[in-house]
Symmetry: C2
């Protein structure tokens, strides 16, 4: 299971100015241990629905048999038309399990179209054969401009290519009853999956929103759910000081409020986990960025890559960051270096690439600690479905706890309305 190493966040390691004392942490955990129960008790309330998702084995079966049936269509591309929470979870799973060079290899390709840049969208249609593509429109309300505009454009494109049976090329994922998309789907006879009413967009990765696209691309969604369930049970049964979600939330909160660390960097030492940081970035920012004052700012980084871009700032710039490192304990593949490099690099001779990456992580995390900046490490046994599922649950639970600690509603996003209103007003004026 995923383990959290908190040594480098403690004042015993990095000093009192930037670190949290073990005693302080222990007291805080005791004081807040009831919050875990409070989250579990809220299970049926708006927003907290994410907790129940791993139990929906019926849905998993349905999605699997649907994916199986779709195989006969031999799609070249599974194209998700969705934005924010409708895309980020799926992207995180895709990059973790299907790899970085998937477009050069296996079909079907899994693409996420999460913007309305005309160059980007035109290029999509120039690059894929729509006849061989399945489009998944994801919007809980159906009122989101981007996926709906993309849906309209895709229909146009199918018509342009003289495709008659268009409904075959679409899946909708939307609210089971409410919203704009549901009636369109009914009228057109399009296959639909539900976004459960109590699950918000950014907490929806383990619902059909995240599961349907990746199942169609071959991911084992049962294992994803199994991992999430295991993590949920671990959180439920653990004592306060062993509860990974409470530990993570408490350290995050204490570093922000008592040590003035308004930025949280998520830095996996793994290309496969990089976009997990993007998913977490929405979760953290939208859930906690409230009331003109609360909310740490999430930042993504990648090890070792960003050692050559951001490490100078992280080690030697202002002491305003908390870093969450992610370390993969066992890689799926490995390579052995030769002995052909010049003597200045002889320390690389014959080494496993995983050992080099591992040493770079250790070097960086130790250097950061020596410079008295707080960090923790999530040790991930292996990048697979189960551990990903566990990670999603861990981080979602952490955010639910942080909502209670910061005393904000972690499940709304009132601050984005104004932009939408002005945008609509501007567009309504254009003839």
């Amino acid at each position: 299971m995923i383990e959290i190493d908190i040594q480098n966040a403690l004042s015993e390691t990095i000093g009192l100015r930037n670190g949290i004392g073990s005693r302080v942490l222990s007291n805080f955990l005791t004081k807040n241990k009831a919050l875990t129960g409070k989250v579990f008790q809220s299970k049926s309330k708006m927003g907290y629905g994410f907790l129940g998702l791993p139990d929906d084995t019926k849905l998993a079966k349905k999605i699997k048999s649907f994916s199986q049936a779709q195989k006969k269509n031999k799609w070249d591309n599974i194209v998700v038309l969705g934005i924010g929470g409708s895309a980020l979870g799926g992207i995180a799973i895709r990059d973790a399990l299907l790899g970085s060079f998937n477009l050069l290899r296996k079909k079907p390709h899994l693409l996420f179209i999460d913007n309305i840049d005309p160059d980007f969208v035109s290029e999509l249609f120039d690059s894929i054969d729509v006849k061989k593509s399945l489009f998944i429109v994801i919007s809980k309300s159906g009122g989101t401009t981007e996926p709906m505009a993309l849906y309209s454009l895709t229909r146009q494109e199918l018509t342009k290519k003289k495709i008659k049976n268009q409904k075959k090329h679409f899946i909708f994922i939307t609210d089971p009853k409410k919203g704009i998309l549901r009636p369109i789907g009914k009228k057109e006879g399009i296959h639909m999956f539900d976004v459960p009413p109590t699950v918000g967009g950014r907490f929806s990765v383990l619902s059909s929103v995240g599961l349907v696209p990746v199942a169609l691309a071959g991911v084992d969604i049962t294992a994803l759910l199994k991992g999430a369930k295991k993590m949920r049970e671990l959180i439920k049964k653990s004592k306060a000081d062993k509860n990974p979600a409470l530990l993570l939330a408490s350290i995050q909160y204490l570093l922000d409020k008592r040590r003035d660390k308004p930025m949280t960097v998520m830095m996996p030492y793994s290309n496969t986990l990089f976009r997990m940081g993007d998913w977490y970035r929405q979760l953290l920012a939208e859930s906690l960025g409230k009331n003109k004052k609360t909310g740490p700012t999430p930042i993504n980084a990648l090890g070792t890559t960003d050692q050559h871009s951001q490490l100078q700032l992280y080690s030697d710039g202002p002491e305003d960051k908390f870093i969450i490192f992610m370390k993969v304990l066992k890689h799926n593949k490995d390579l052995t270096l030769g002995k052909d490099l010049p003597k200045e690099l002889s320390f690389l001779h014959g080494k496993q690439l995983s050992d080099v990456l591992s040493a770079a992580y250790k070097g960086t995390s130790e250097a950061i600690a020596k410079n008295k900046r707080p960090s923790i490490t999530l040790n991930i046994p292996k990048v697979d479905e189960e551990n990903l599922g566990a990670m999603f649950m861990l981080l979602e639970f952490q955010i639910a706890l942080l909502g209670l600690m910061y005393k904000v509603d972690a499940f709304n996003q009132p601050g984005v309305e104004q932009s939408k209103i002005i945008t609509k007003k501007i567009l309504s004026k254009i003839k």
Copy 2:
């Protein structure tokens, strides 16, 4: 030419708590106008060499004829083995000019391998045909672990595939005299290009480091250099209040130091410009993140995508950010929406997609300003070689000016050494 709109950073628009008064700005510009001349006078000094790069038309010709000659090899893949400044400029140009779905379309594919994650590297070799690939090893000193490890692994892979004439598959870009890579290249008879000694990695995009890879993929490097030169001349001849680099640097500095905005978000409304933000992220962080106290933290965002992820935090969270929007005035392609969406979305009917994107930018930037948070907008006439070249020069010049304002050496990165030392020590102990 690129224009800067500063209205939403001024106290006259967003109030005194977070905005800069026009008078204050004007006085600051007058007080600091000599800095522009100081940068130009330092042209031959270490670090400032980036200023002269647009004049090297000889190099551009050499690279172009080299690229022309390489066509006969019909490479499927141009693979850059480089990290940090050896990759980020090229990635920014590739994404801006070759598009997001390039891997689905035209060959040669341009790939940047900027990490040593064993899963990532193994997947690369599983996905490409090394016989049809040209590898560009980029390291000024040749002492950087990542590209050198990748070079060694690539040779192994070529050997495994029984490729005899290996030197044909490599290009080195390195210091003209010093370092480890130069003698290897000489011994092996590998074609080499120079990294000019006075140009640092993160300022090297307009040297052979950035130019060679993209020229091989078909980018017009002469136009890139032309745009950079135009911007440099504009900076040189402009009065203080019209000098885009001085304006940009002054606003950045004043917002950080006098309005306590330690974070700078770069948010293009364009997928093509997103990775430009990644390039700038290194430039800003490594150049200014110094002395345990200076240096704003760069953050990347994408419009409209991150309206559905970060906007809640940016509008309604703590007032600690300065946003640089980037707006493309004329897209290379456009699409027209149909009139098939339900009445709730009728404001989209018949609209150009570029107008929808534009309205979203306006809605967001106005909402941000109404919430009294500072932003500026870089208006970019069009995403093409010339404007990209101009942008690189503008932002590099801005950072050189900021180095003088913050009184730090913008061209070193002492804070990354400790990590390297520990890493090497760990690896030396592994048998």
